[in-house]
């Protein structure tokens, strides 16, 4: 009994420290990003922009780029989830034991291929629409972390828990949805967060196939020798990636089942 009480106290103390850290992260990350953006804004304001620069660096272009990038990333992540989560579930079922290594190998190749090559391939061979091709490419790219998160999440569920659930007469389906999936959520979400950050960050490549995004500022600035435009585009892309990670972190905290 004493050991339990002490254990409880310990975990409560650790819990408090963790929630303090968490609160710091909740506020700290957006604060740092906001400061960086504000600094960049003030710096740009202080500069005399030439004709080309002011065409690239203006509110309308930046807003459009941001929306394009977010749009591509969200669609790509959604597509990834729709494919990778059910696939991950299927591959952890006993009847799929034979095909599992093959699919995992395929997913590994998907991520092993250079992203830019994948994008050009899809654009040239399959879809002649820049943003759609980018969405598909990003989705293929992000399948692996979600697939792996789903599978590892399900595999680490205590076998005793599953056995007890089956032994009490829960059907396979309700064991999956009421026991295994909730318990897999924390690891699954880590995979989703990785996928989200990955797609947001690599979405800049869509600019090469006319998909817009902050990549356009970077490529345009580079091509025309305007480093300021490159800097603005890079900061924009980085900001989105960091915020995506931040939101992913909050989602992990909120969606984690109580009691774990």
């Amino acid at each position: 009994m004493t050991a339990v009480a002490v254990g409880g106290l310990d975990s409560r103390v650790v819990g408090r420290e963790r929630s303090l850290l968490r609160r710091l992260r909740y506020v700290g990350v957006p604060a740092v990003v906001a400061i960086a953006c504000a600094a960049m804004y003030l710096y740009v304001q202080s500069q005399e922009l030439d004709n080309i620069e002011s065409r690239i660096i203006n509110a309308r272009v930046i807003r459009t780029a941001a929306f394009e990038q977010i749009e591509i990333a969200l669609w790509a992540t959604a597509l990834t989830l729709v494919v990778a989560v059910p696939l991950g579930i299927a591959l952890t079922r006993p009847w799929a034991r034979r095909v599992t290594p093959i699919i995992i190998a395929l997913a590994n190749i998907g991520q092993g291929v250079p992203a830019i090559g994948l994008l050009f391939f899809i654009y040239i061979v399959l879809i002649r629409n820049g943003s759609t091709a980018a969405i598909l490419g990003m989705a293929i790219y992000a399948v692996l972390p979600v697939l792996r998160g789903t599978m590892v999440g399900l595999q680490q569920v205590d076998r005793g828990v599953v056995k007890a659930a089956r032994g009490m007469g829960m059907s396979k389906r309700s064991v999956l949805f009421r026991v295994e999936m909730p318990l897999a959520v924390p690891i699954l979400l880590t995979g989703v967060r990785t996928a989200l950050v990955l797609t947001v960050a690599t979405a800049v490549l869509a600019a090469f196939i006319g998909g817009g995004t902050f990549g356009e500022l970077i490529i345009g600035g580079q091509a025309q020798g305007r480093p300021l435009a490159v800097a603005v585009g890079s900061l924009g892309a980085a900001t989105l990636a960091i915020l995506a990670d931040w939101i992913g972190g909050i989602a992990e905290d909120l969606l984690r089942p109580k009691g774990l």
Partner: protein, 399 residues
């Protein structure tokens, strides 16, 4: 339930039940026939790999038998929907397997919810079960499993298995993962509960001492789940059917037999030692002590629980100040429940200097004393009975 059929038909009957895994030479379970009578605890015990867990898991068809049939209350359940079958059988395993993301109350409510009970009925049942296993509902119902100790979790596991009041419980080394002290406590508690609920229980263990303590009947299994002996613990200890059984029982059969008798079964002396209440004066205590002619007397506290052994010399030292009677003498160390086995009692006594154990009832109140002589007499009686039985079986054998 009180029909003739229910009385004659065993609760569970296995008919030539076999499990043969593909690619394996020998079957894991080779045609076991077993009848489990209603309301009894039947223990499956045997060396590891003998197929006892496989046999258990075929009863609720977590493992589908290769051949043979399973009957529950006379009904052939070999091919019914396994999920529905399992809801009629409580299931407790060593890992417990509580759902970590659900509260204790939600965990216990699992099967009743599947059976579609309404909220009120479920809540009442959860409350009742938590009381039954000795956990205060107000304190524990909304906790998560990780906030409980191992012993508490195992109690919840038992409560969850009993939630929908199934006639049958299957238990696979339910107390195996707990420390010896907790295990003994859980075993005693479970026996107390079983006295009231009278479930039909199939219980797997590898520990012969646990089997002897918990079982109404014991099935000793050899490899392939072949039954080496199926009988009451007394009969098995008295007449091991084969060398295999003898080996499995191990040494110290006589000591093991002490696990069969409980303190309440032997003579508990109620007037051997004088007792006094906490309100008595030292003067009164001294008088009693002199009257009794014994070396000590026993001080009970206000709830009649044995508190201290007091000798005359302790009273002198107190100088007759009645208020300090509760500080006099030595604390009672050997204290056994009347339901403890003689083996437990013997151990307690050996720890105690004067070789006497105070016996307490369910509520911890003083019920009498037990000394070494009584236990030795009980052993002698057992041995005489065993020899008697052995010779009468031998006599039957010749005719």
């Amino acid at each position: 339930m009180s029909t003739a059929r229910a009385a004659s038909e065993p609760m569970i009957r296995l008919d030539q039940l076999t499990k043969h895994y593909p690619g394996q030479e020998a079957p894991a379970v080779d045609g076991i026939d077993l009848a489990v009578p209603q309301g009894e605890i039947v223990i499956l015990v045997g060396p590891s790999g003998c197929g006892k867990t496989t046999t258990l898991e075929m009863i609720n068809r977590l493992i589908e038998p290769s051949s043979g049939r399973i009957f529950l209350e006379g009904e052939d359940v070999t091919h019914v929907n396994p999920d529905h079958l399992r809801r009629r059988m409580g299931y407790v395993i060593q890992q417990i397997g509580l759902f970590p993301h659900q509260t204790i109350a939600q965990n216990i409510a699992t099967v009743p919810r599947m059976l579609g009970w309404d909220d009120k009925r479920v809540n009442d049942r959860v409350e009742e079960l938590l009381h039954l296993v000795g956990l205060d509902p107000a304190r524990y119902r909304d906790r998560y499993p990780k906030e409980m100790s191992g012993g508490q979790r195992q109690r919840v596991g038992v409560a969850r298995a009993m939630a929908a009041d199934p006639p049958v419980m299957l238990m696979d080394e339910p107390f195996g993962a707990t420390d010896p002290i907790t295990r003994e406590r859980l075993q005693n508690e479970f026996l107390r509960i079983q006295e009231d609920i009278r479930k039909t229980i199939v219980f797997v263990t590898h520990d012969i001492d646990e089997a002897i303590k918990m079982g109404d009947r014991i099935v000793i299994l050899a490899e392939g789940s072949r039954i080496a002996q199926y009988d009451t613990p007394e009969a098995i200890l008295t007449n091991p059917a084969s060398e295999f059984v003898e080996q499995f029982l191990g040494s110290g059969i006589l000591l093991k037999r002490l696990n069969l008798s409980r303190v309440e079964d032997v003579h508990v002396a109620t007037s051997e030692w004088m007792t006094i209440g906490p309100d008595s004066t030292a003067e009164h205590a001294r008088q009693l002590l002199q009257q009794s002619g014994r070396t000590h007397l026993l001080l009970l506290d206000d709830q009649r629980r044995p508190a201290r052994w007091i000798a005359e010399i302790d009273l002198d030292r107190q100088g007759g100040f009645p208020a300090e009677l509760s500080e006099a003498g030595t604390r009672v160390q050997a204290c056994v429940d009347s339901r403890a086995t003689l083996n437990d009692a013997l151990q307690e006594m050996l720890l105690n200097a004067n070789g006497v154990a105070a016996v307490v009832d369910r509520d911890g109140a003083y019920a009498g004393t037990l000394d070494l002589e009584t236990i030795i007499a009980a052993i002698r009686e057992m041995r005489a009975k065993a020899l008697d039985e052995a010779s009468s079986t031998a006599a039957r054998g010749v005719t």
